[in-house]
Symmetry: C2
């Protein structure tokens, strides 16, 4: 039986999703809880990596099991074994060939920026505090250049091996509510740090360090140095993976 | 010179506002930062105590100083010396006789309840997770009984000495947005744990453990055992003190 889980996690206390030595990760915590619950050795497949401090609102993972626990009871049983900053809110049986990473056709991320003179005590782990004024229209104009298929090699941090650096962005919205700016991006896939570099570049467009009109050229250049900074991890939320 | 500060704090990491031995408190942190900033011994007067884990959205405190730092620069200078979970967002010179506690004529608190089958990874420190269904109309009906002047001796935890247990509630609203219920209460003063006991009592009214029609009798009884439980601290936010 192949079971798909829907998780939500506050990434503040974790070194990202993926299991690594000498660091606490979300994958390890959930895998161990599932092992305890089922009495089996679990291979937990996630929809992708998230970095240290990055959050997830609806993270998909799956595992194969022989357990007799009714699938609808798994979220409750799992939550009783998970710390409070990781919550399972859904479980369903999926076809045997479903694979959280390989079956995903798209992903959506949110990036949150607190644009205010003072920081916010409650958002220190959940937004990038940027205290200089940001022009929303410039950010929205800059965002348009990212839509569609591009080689995003200039919007990736080194350290990852991928077959191609070409990705398609389906939508990229920039909205503001009170002092909080949200970047909402959906694409068929993202390179390492790509969302955070796009966020940093849109912020540079919003504060006048880069021109919105220059975005197409910057993307085409393929040069990391042409883009903006890598925005800090705490503003990033994996919203959803699509299948 | 008497300076009034407006603070916001996430109370998760603190043993409340008031300085105590062997525990880290907000008052101590802010007082020490002000001492560093001004080079003076500071007597920091707060608008009231908050318990461990309780938050503040607009906390008023004041201190007398001979500093020559321009008052409008104090929030920035102070924030650079404060941890990220305590933020100063306002400072102004007030008359010499202004006293954050004694001059306050009213206070407003919010109490937040996550009413959903599953917990929320991001609200673990900012709401009471109550998983059984709550009837909003019953809570609203129950709330009406608290309005006006009453002896609230049955809605206080022991451990505090006060001249009188009579308090006046000016407003008490119960609203719901998605799965989040917010209790919004304003009064001329509150006894120890009074807001949390009112919140616990309204929740008991909402889940059928108490009848909304029985509230007036429960208040009049003056018996702590008649009211609901003391709701946990993490859902409570001091919204504002009025002068």
């Amino acid at each position: 039986m192949n079971i798909k889980l829907s998780l939500q996690y506050d990434g503040t206390a974790y070194h990202g999703w993926q299991i690594q030595e000498n660091a606490v990760t979300v994958q390890e915590i959930v895998k161990n809880a599932l092992s305890e619950l089922t009495g089996e050795k679990i291979n937990l497949i996630g929809c992708g990596r998230t970095d240290a401090g990055v959050h997830a609102l609806d993270y998909t993972c799956n595992f194969h099991t022989e357990t007799t626990i009714p699938v609808e009871k798994i979220p409750y049983a799992l939550n009783s074994r998970l710390p409070e900053d990781i919550v399972c809110f859904g479980a369903e049986v999926v076809p045997d060939d479903f694979h959280s990473k390989n079956s995903a056709v798209a992903k959506r991320y949110l990036y949150k920026i607190l644009n205010a003179p003072f920081p916010d005590a409650f958002m220190k782990n959940y937004a990038w505090h940027f205290k200089y004024p940001l022009n929303l229209e410039d950010m929205q104009k800059a965002a348009e250049a990212f839509l569609g298929e591009h080689d995003f090699i200039g919007f990736a941090s080194s350290g990852f091996t991928v077959k191609t650096t070409v990705r398609t962005i389906y939508s990229l919205g920039v909205s503001k509510k009170n002092n909080l700016i949200t970047i909402d991006i959906k694409g068929n896939g993202f390179l390492y740090n790509m969302v955070r570099i796009i966020a940093g570049t849109l912020v540079f467009a919003g504060c006048g360090k880069l021109s919105p009109d220059d975005m197409a050229r910057i993307i085409a250049s393929g040069e990391r140095a042409e883009a903006g900074i890598t925005a800090p991890p705490q503003g990033l939320f994996l919203k959803e993976a699509y299948y």
